[in-house]
Amino acid sequence: MEWLNPYHLQVASFMLINAILGVSIFITLSTGQLSLGNAGFMSIGAYAAALLSTQHQVPIPVGILAGSLLAGAVGILVGIPSLRLSGVYLAIATLGFGEVLRAVLINWESLTGGAVGVAAIPQMGRVILSMARDGGFSPESIGLRNNQFISLSVFLVLLLCTLLSAAFFLRLSRTRVGRAYTAIKLDESAAEAAGIPVTYYKVLAFSQGALLSGFAGALFAHTTSFVSPGDFTYHRAVEILVFAVFGGSEHLLGPVFGAAFLTLLPEALRAISEYRYILYGILLVLMMVFRPQGVIDPALLRRFRRSPKETAA
């Protein structure tokens, strides 16, 4: 089991958290709303989960659930006034929301610890390890060192969460609600005239995206065991958008792929140290020139779906 490298597992864990963020921006985008508030909603989930577990000894899963729901509820409150805005105006307003929230996190020191953030958040892997030990199970019995076991269990929990989130919204996209989302994205007033309550679905999608960002934030808090306002800046907001722009925003797998690939890339390029972000930037520019719709688009997916049948026939 020597090959199980905690560092690799940690990179994979961040890929998964970012993949959930990719799903979250996809949901709001799937109704044609460009939101840059996801970093802000992520901070709500992260801080709620962190504070509940450090100050009130709430069990981790309960804290994660509470953090996600709180982010979703704030999403409804932000989503309703934002309905009057569209396109870049919505993007700017939601970006502003994220920055205001960050200012609150920095200045409300009695609750949030200010710029220093919240430390000593129970780490999922360590908690699972101690529970396993209490239950009489030792990682050595399956040939794992403690740190390997911790990283592996975090990875598996995040993998499960990512698969559940992606499956939930993939299934949703093939239902009445998913069709309503797409119709709204393509032509809002034709959708409204066809009997779809556009306002309701836009707020629903916005708060679902917020809830999922909060979920990713709460998982992040219990993975790194430390959160600070610096984790949820403007850069994070744009990074999440880039997942969708790079991976493609026409299908849920686009932002998921974008998140995984763009998280892995700087790590894979560590060997060339400071040049790697130059390469990252060049890659994004080339993408915009040669494949503006993103890596994954419906045409690509159709080709993948058809080719096995064609080769069989």
């Binding site: 939930f168 299934r171 949703l172 239902t175 009445r176 609600v177 998913g178 069709r179 309503a180 797409t182 119709a183 393509l186 032509d187 007033s189 034709a190 959708a191 409204e192 005239a193 066809a194 009997g195 779809i196 309550p197 556009v198 306002t199 629903l204 419906p298």
Partner: protein, 260 residues
């Protein structure tokens, strides 16, 4: 007299410009009423007012005696009024089938959880939606089209038919058709006439905007004529054809064709 749709003193202004004023007429259950008039007379604006895409600035719209002006467009669709658009507005990257399924939205109810969990009720509902969709595609003559094909890739005439199928999916009692035969040749216009009559025979009342006079004269039970945002005549097609005010509105258009 109880009309299915009744309009009382409808007015609509955009800024200082009056697009419609003092429009009052009724549409009775089962009839086909044609709305004609020169370009810019306010015909499409009337449709937008009835379906609340632009709420009226005066007067009221009643459906079955109940006031519907003030309701949002989706609620009006639910009350049984559907429409098509002059410049076809399909969901172009969605499939042919999905476009019709979207039209079924207000006659179905499965939400997020039932959808994701694929409950028995939700699956039954989806089967119902698909069945109704096939039925409507057949009605409008698109049963040979690939249901998986994107709507935007259909030939123009088929797009018009698909839009009608989407409108019918909401089970309207009143269907508003905005120039369904625009850009069609004689054979296609004849097919459109037959389709409109078939829809009427299913019990759907129709309000029809159309420039093709032979189609209007054949299809409509009654006509209302608009010019410069006002209703200038109302009556049976034969009477309208000989009405001097109508002839003037059309032939006099050369002087006043500044599209009021």
């Amino acid at each position: 007299m109880s009309g299915l749709l009744s309009l009382h003193e409808i007015g609509k202004t955009f800024g200082g410009l009056s697009a419609l004023s003092g429009i009052s007429f009724e549409v009775r259950q089962g009839e086909i009423v044609g709305v004609i008039g020169p370009n810019g007379a306010g015909k499409t604006t009337l449709f937008n007012v009835i379906t609340a895409l632009f709420p009226p600035t005066g007067g009221e719209v009643r459906c079955d005696g109940k006031r519907i002006s003030g309701l949002p467009p989706h609620a009006i669709a639910k009350r049984g009024i559907s429409r098509t658009f002059q410049n076809i507005r399909l969901f172009s990257t969605m499939s042919v089938e999905e476009n019709v399924m979207v039209g079924r939205h207000c006659r179905s109810g499965a939400g997020v959880w039932r959808g994701v969990l694929r409950t028995r009720g939700q699956r039954r509902e989806e089967r119902g939606i698909r069945g109704k969709t096939r039925e409507l595609l057949e009605l409008v003559g698109l049963s040979d089209a690939d249901p998986e094909r994107t709507a935007g890739s259909l030939p123009y005439g088929h797009q018009r038919r698909l839009e009608i199928a989407r409108a019918l999916a909401a089970e309207p009692r009143l269907l508003l058709l905005d120039e369904p035969a625009a850009g069609m040749n004689d054979a296609e216009t004849q097919e459109m006439f037959l389709l409109i009559k078939r829809i009427q025979s299913l019990g759907v009342t129709i309000l029809l905007i159309e420039h093709d006079m032979s189609l209007v004269m054949k299809a409509c039970d009654r006509l209302v004529v608009f010019n410069f945002g006002r209703m200038i005549a109302e009556g049976a097609p034969a009477a309208i054809r000989d009405d001097p005010r109508v002839i003037e509105a059309y032939l006099g258009a050369a002087e006043g064709d500044d599209d009021a």
